[in-house]
C-alpha cells in the first residue's frame, strides 16, 4: 500500500482521535469507551508506517498521536484527596520503620556532634567562636536573654506571622538540602547532619553556660520534637539514596538510586509535614512568654513522646498494608 492510500484509509480515525484528545484536555467531553482500542490501532499503524518506510512526516504525525494517547492512557491519579494524604502518612511511618538502620545512623550523626559540641562549649567559653561568628553569637545570646519579655528572634507583638514565614523558609529548606545532599554518595547528608548537630549543640552549650537555660530549653523543647526529628528523618532519606549509590547490590547504580529515591521521598512527605507543624509551634507557641515554663516543658515532653510513639510504636504503620 502506498503512503497516500494508507493515509486515505486511516486519516478519519486519526482526526477523530485527535479531536477526542483535545476535547478531553479542555474538559469538554470524557473519553470514549473505545479509546484504548483506537489507541492500539494507531500504535499498529505507526509500526506499519515505519516498516513500510513511509515519509518522516507521516511517521512523526503517527508518533505524536501515539504520544498523546500514551500520556492519557498511562497517566496516574494526581488529584489530592483525603485518602491520598492518609496513605502518604501510612507509608511515611512504614518507610521509617523499614529503614531504621538509616534512621539510627542519621541520629548518631546528628546527636553525637551535638552532644560533643554542647559539652565542649559548656566547659570552654571560647570554643563557640571557632564555629559561629562572634556577631552571630551575640545575636543568639540576646535572643534568649531572660531579661527580655519576648524570646526567640527579637520581635514585637504582631511578628509571630512573620516568624512563621521565616521558620518555614529556613527550616524546611535545611531539611530539604540535607536530603538532596545525599545524592553525593551520602556525603552531603552527613555534612548537613553533623553541621546542624554541631551548631545546635554549640548554641545549647553556650547558652547553658551563660545561664540562659531557663529561657532556651522551654523555647526549643516544643517545636524541637518535630523539627529536630524531621531533620534527622530527612538526613536518613538522604543517606538512603547515598547508600544506594555506594552499594547498589544486584542493581545498576542508576536503578538502585531510582528505587531508593522512591522510598526516600515517602519519608520526606512526612518530614515536610512535621517541619510545617514545627514552624507553626515555633512561631505561635514556643515564643510566648505568658505561659508558665512548667507548662511549656510539659507540653514539650508530651510532643517528644507523641512523635516517637507515632513514628515507631503506633499501630499506624501496621494498618493498610496493601497500599
Amino acid at each position: 500500500m502506498k503512503q497516500q492510500d494508507f493515509e486515505n484509509v486511516y486519516v478519519e480515525g486519526w482526526l477523530h482521535f485527535e479531536s477526542q484528545i483535545t476535547n478531553y484536555k479542555n474538559e469538554k467531553s470524557p473519553l470514549e469507551t473505545t479509546f484504548p482500542e483506537q489507541y492500539r490501532q494507531i500504535c499498529a499503524q505507526l509500526s506499519l508506517a515505519k516498516q513500510r518506510h513511509y515519509s518522516d512526516d507521516m511517521i512523526r504525525r503517527l508518533n505524536s498521536l501515539v504520544m498523546a494517547g500514551h500520556h492519557i492512557l498511562y497517566q496516574q491519579e494526581n488529584r489530592v484527596r483525603i485518602k491520598q494524604i492518609s496513605n502518604a502518612l501510612y507509608s511515611f511511618v512504614r518507610t521509617l520503620r523499614d529503614n531504621y538502620i538509616y534512621l539510627s545512623l542519621a541520629s548518631i550523626l546528628f546527636v553525637l556532634p551535638a552532644i560533643l559540641a554542647g559539652l565542649a562549649c559548656y566547659f570552654d567559653e571560647t570554643l563557640i567562636y571557632s564555629l559561629i561568628s562572634p556577631a552571630q553569637v551575640d545575636e543568639i545570646e540576646s535572643m534568649y536573654n531572660p531579661a527580655l519579655d519576648k524570646i526567640g528572634r527579637e520581635r514585637g507583638s504582631d511578628t509571630d506571622l512573620a516568624m512563621f514565614g521565616y521558620y518555614i523558609n529556613n527550616n524546611i529548606g535545611i531539611a530539604f538540602r540535607t536530603f538532596a545532599g545525599g545524592i553525593f554518595f551520602g556525603l552531603g547528608s552527613v555534612f548537613f547532619l553533623c553541621f546542624n548537630g554541631l551548631y545546635i549543640g554549640a548554641v545549647a552549650g553556650k547558652l547553658t553556660s551563660v545561664g540562659y537555660a531557663v529561657t532556651f530549653y522551654p523555647f526549643v523543647i516544643g517545636h524541637g520534637a518535630f523539627e529536630l526529628t524531621a531533620i534527622v528523618f530527612s538526613g536518613a532519606a538522604g543517606l538512603m539514596i547515598g547508600y544506594a549509590l555506594i552499594n547498589p547490590g544486584q542493581l545498576t547504580r542508576l536503578s538502585a538510586l531510582k528505587a531508593a529515591a522512591k522510598e526516600a521521598v515517602k519519608i520526606l512527605y512526612g518530614a515536610a509535614f512535621m517541619l510545617f507543624i514545627a514552624a507553626f509551634l515555633e512561631a505561635f507557641w514556643s515564643s510566648s512568654t505568658q505561659l508558665p515554663i512548667a507548662l511549656k516543658l510539659g507540653i514539650g515532653a508530651i510532643s517528644w513522646f507523641f512523635v516517637f510513639w507515632f513514628c515507631f510504636f503506633s499501630s499506624f504503620g501496621r494498618r493498610n498494608e496493601s497500599v
Binding site: Q4, A44, H53, S55, S64, A180, I183, K266
Partner: protein
C-alpha cells in the same frame, strides 16, 4: 545504513511498538529555567510591593510564598499542567517519566528537591555537567526520579503539491532511497528553489538530467512513491 546520532530516544510501549521522542538538551532547558526564574521574580516583586505596606503579617506571607515558589513551583506545574512549567511551555518542553508516561507526585517531588543538589557548587554547575554527560540529558534530580525532559510534538501539515504528475522510477530503488525521495518531495515547500536544484543534481545518475528538469523529475518520482494517482 550507518546509524546516525541524534537526540531522539525510543521506548517500547506495552502495545509492543517503539515510539520515539526528542530529548531536550542543556540550552533549551536553561532558557526554560530563565523564563521560570523571570516569572518567579515578577511574582516576588508583585507580592513584595503589596506586602511592604502590611507590616509583619505581610512579611510572613511573603516568606511563605517565597518558600512555596522556590521549592514547589515546578512540582505544581509538572503535576497539574502536563509536565510543563510556563518556561517549558514557552520552549515546547515537557517533563515525563523515562517511559514517557506523565510525571506523578513522587517523581516530580524527587526531581525538584534534588534541584538544590544540582544547583551546587554555583549556578547549576553539577546539573549542567550531569545533563551534558548523561545519555538522556538528565540532571541528578532527573536520574533519581527517572524523568526526562522531551520536546512536545510539533504540528505537522506537509501537503503534497497537486501540480505534480506522478512518474514511476525507471530503476529499482532501495527502501532508504524511496524514503529519502518522498521526504524530499513533501518538504520542498520549506527548502529554497536553488537548494532543491542543488540537491537533485546529486541524483543525476538516476534522473539523467540536471537543473529544474531534474528537480521536477525527482518530485514526480516522489509523488509516485507516495501513491499519487
Amino acid at each position: 545504513m550507518k546509524k546516525l546520532i541524534d537526540t531522539s530516544c525510543s521506548i517500547e510501549t506495552p502495545e509492543g511498538i517503539d515510539f520515539s521522542s526528542t530529548i531536550a538538551g542543556p540550552i533549551p532547558r536553561t532558557l526554560a529555567y530563565a523564563i521560570d526564574l523571570g516569572w518567579r521574580c515578577l511574582i516576588y516583586l508583585g507580592i513584595g510591593l503589596v506586602t511592604i505596606f502590611t507590616g509583619n503579617v505581610g512579611v510572613g506571607f511573603f516568606l511563605v510564598i517565597t518558600f512555596l515558589l522556590e521549592w514547589f513551583y515546578p512540582v505544581f506545574f509538572e503535576v497539574f499542567r502536563h509536565g510543563q512549567t510556563p518556561g517549558k511551555k514557552a520552549l515546547g518542553l515537557r517533563v515525563v517519566n523515562e517511559d514517557y508516561t506523565p510525571v506523578n507526585w513522587s517523581g516530580s517531588t524527587i526531581r525538584n528537591l534534588l534541584r538544590s543538589a544540582d544547583f551546587l557548587p554555583v549556578f547549576y554547575l553539577f546539573g549542567i555537567t550531569s545533563i551534558t554527560l548523561s545519555k538522556k540529558f538528565q540532571r541528578l534530580g532527573d536520574m533519581a526520579a527517572g524523568t526526562v525532559v522531551i520536546y512536545t510534538p510539533q504540528k505537522i501539515n506537509s501537503l503534497l503539491d497537486n501540480e505534480i504528475t506522478p512518474i514511476a522510477p525507471s530503476q529499482p530503488l532501495t527502501p532508504q532511497e524511496k524514503q529519502a525521495i518522498s521526504n524530499f518531495t513533501l518538504r520542498t515547500s520549506s527548502i529554497s528553489e536553488a537548494r532543491q536544484v542543488e540537491l537533485t543534481n546529486l541524483l543525476e545518475p538516476i534522473t539523467k538530467s540536471t537543473g529544474s528538469e531534474g528537480l521536477n523529475l525527482v518530485k514526480s518520482i516522489g509523488a509516485w512513491l507516495l501513491g499519487k494517482k
